[in-house]
């Protein structure tokens, strides 16, 4: 078994031991879907939500919360901790490169995100008769680009933050504005046009539009996919350029 597979398996096990994180990523979004799904009439198209089924709208929010929590809270905090505690440094003096650990760690989180989305979609489908995503190809692509762009942004935060504490702080500072602009708390169509426009340019806002559209059967606008791809490329390149392997 090569270093990557072994590291991914071990990190997967470590992830499952973090009960709080597992709850947040799997149970919380499902609870959200169930709580709203039980409201009478909510599983029908809602005028206030541009005719999207209420439960489907909430399921989309659940997906967004999972991705943004992983990308802007879990990624910066844990990776910066691994650096600060000398785990990356210790790995640097073995035949395995510390980069392998980062990739293994990201893969574990990406798989967790995908499984969580599968769970959200299944619960919505089987408990509340919400149709499966009508454009599955676009749905999956939007999801993958969402993961890539938010993880890249999380890595950029880790790259510029000198300590684990500052990485967490900076992550949180981006987390709430991203959620607000993407319309997690107030539906995006109730925000002012300027804020709506700003939200479209955030990775989370673009992801949420693309995921909702493809779920409802509309081809997502290419701008949204392009915005996510651009965030992935720019944040990812900057992160790779400025990432420090050793504590400050």
């Amino acid at each position: 078994m090569n270093g990557f597979t072994k590291l991914a398996l071990v990190e997967g096990r470590l992830f499952l031991r973090e009960k709080f994180a597992v709850f947040g990523i799997f149970a919380f979004p499902v609870a959200l879907v169930v709580a709203f799904g039980l409201i009478p009439g909510f599983s029908k198209p809602q005028k206030s939500l541009a005719d999207q089924i209420g439960t489907e709208y909430i399921a989309g929010l659940g997906i967004a919360i999972v991705l943004v929590s992983l990308g802007l809270q879990v990624v910066p905090t844990i990776i910066a901790q691994y650096r600060e505690r000398g785990i990356l440094r210790r790995l640097a003096v073995t035949p395995v490169r510390p980069l392998t650990l980062l990739v293994a760690k990201m893969s574990v989180w990406a798989v967790a995100a995908i499984l969580s989305v599968a769970l959200i979609v299944s619960v919505a489908r089987f408990a509340f008769h919400v149709p499966l995503p009508v454009k599955p190809g676009w749905f999956v692509l939007s999801l993958l680009l969402g993961i890539a762009s938010l993880f890249a942004l999380g890595m950029l935060v880790t790259a510029v933050a000198p300590t684990a504490r500052s990485a967490t702080g900076l992550g949180v500072a981006l987390y709430f504005p991203n959620m607000f602009l993407a319309g997690i708390w107030i539906p995006a169509n109730q925000l002012s046009p300027g804020l709506q426009q700003a939200g479209n340019f955030t990775p989370l806002g673009a992801m949420l539009h693309a995921v909702r559209d493809s779920w409802m059967g509309i081809d997502p606008r290419l701008e949204y996919l392009g915005i996510m791809a651009a965030w992935t490329l720019v944040a990812g390149t900057l992160a790779a350029r400025y990432f420090k392997w050793d504590r400050a």
Partner: protein
């Protein structure tokens, strides 16, 4: 003896500050080589240049014939490193950690045996965060050995260990050396270097102040030994002063203290035996690297 580590004029700068200033030494196969010095003397930086964690600014380094700057990947398969102040993932269990690191190497050691030898046999299922300081330290030593390395670098080996565990650790390090592994030991503990090292370099502000066997370092510093005893018959102290190596003789009540260098102690005991003076409570003290260190570097480790 063949040199497994060759260092010529190794230099490392941080900005305009020279931390390691052109040091040279060889480490022979199968020896325990100590690098001793106060905090900030450049010990850790020097070793980091040997293990490829830092890129040197000047000089030549070969470890097992490989340049750590260019062939670090090949080197990492053959060396083991224990770093100062390193941690593992909180929830990673002891046996998992060892098993994980073993999977990185082409010819790993038997993990079970390593755990037992380092007193972690019953801790296999314990998460890293729940280990005591000493257990963490022993785990890191085990991790440094799990790849069956030809050279091990140990930085501050016994920090955090209680006196009993330190002794046990020293015994195990000797066993490692006896199995043919070369050990490079970074330490600021005199007793550890004196007890364990075949040779040691004293580093002082990035330079080697002295390099010799521990006993040689003591001699180099002209370290004096003290010998104390109670003679059971009357004794003419003046006669002892004439013996080779003896520098002073004093008496406090019934106790006589003789100070001297090198082999003075055997000269004194031989002389007493010849004159049939039986002594009680014989003690020889002050044969310490501690004193030698102060002499050689002009300061003590504790205050620097």
């Amino acid at each position: 003896m063949t040199a497994v580590i060759e260092v010529r004029g190794l230099t490392k700068k941080y900005g305009d500050q020279t931390v390691v200033d052109g040091i040279s030494f060889n480490v022979d196969q199968g020896e325990i080589f100590g690098i001793l010095g106060p905090n900030g003397a450049g010990k850790t930086t020097a070793v980091e240049c040997l293990t490829g964690l830092r890129r040197r600014d000047g000089g030549e380094v070969r470890v097992l014939g490989l340049d750590p700057k260019r062939h670090s990947q090949r080197l990492y398969q053959r060396i083991g490193v224990q770093l100062q102040e390193s941690q593992l993932q909180d929830r990673l269990r002891v046996a998992e950690a060892l098993d994980l690191y073993a999977s990185f190497y082409p010819h790993p050691a038997d993990c079970r045996g390593l755990l037992d030898r380092w007193g972690l046999g019953s801790k296999g299922g314990t998460p890293f965060a729940k280990l005591s300081g000493g257990q963490k330290q022993r785990l890191f030593i085990a991790l440094a050995l799990v790849g069956n390395p030809e050279v091990v670098f140990l930085d501050e080996l016994t920090t955090g260990l209680d006196p009993g565990a330190r002794r046990a650790t020293w015994d195990l390090i000797r066993q490692i050396r006896d199995s043919g592994v070369t050990v490079v030991l970074v330490s600021h503990f005199m007793d550890e270097v004196e007890e364990l090292c075949d040779r040691a370099a004293i580093l002082e502000q990035g330079r080697i102040a002295a390099l010799d066997t521990p006993a040689g370092l003591v001699d180099l510093a002209g370290g004096e030994y003290q010998m104390r005893f109670r003679p059971t018959a009357p004794l003419d102290e003046g006669v002892l002063l004439l013996l080779p190596g003896v520098s002073s003789v004093t008496r406090h009540g019934a106790q006589v203290t003789v100070t001297g260098t090198r082999d003075f102690a055997s000269a004194v005991t031989a002389d007493l035996a010849r004159r049939q003076v039986i002594v009680a409570d014989l003690r020889i003290e002050g044969r310490s690297l501690d004193n030698a260190y102060v002499t050689l570097t002009g300061r003590s480790l504790e205050t620097s």
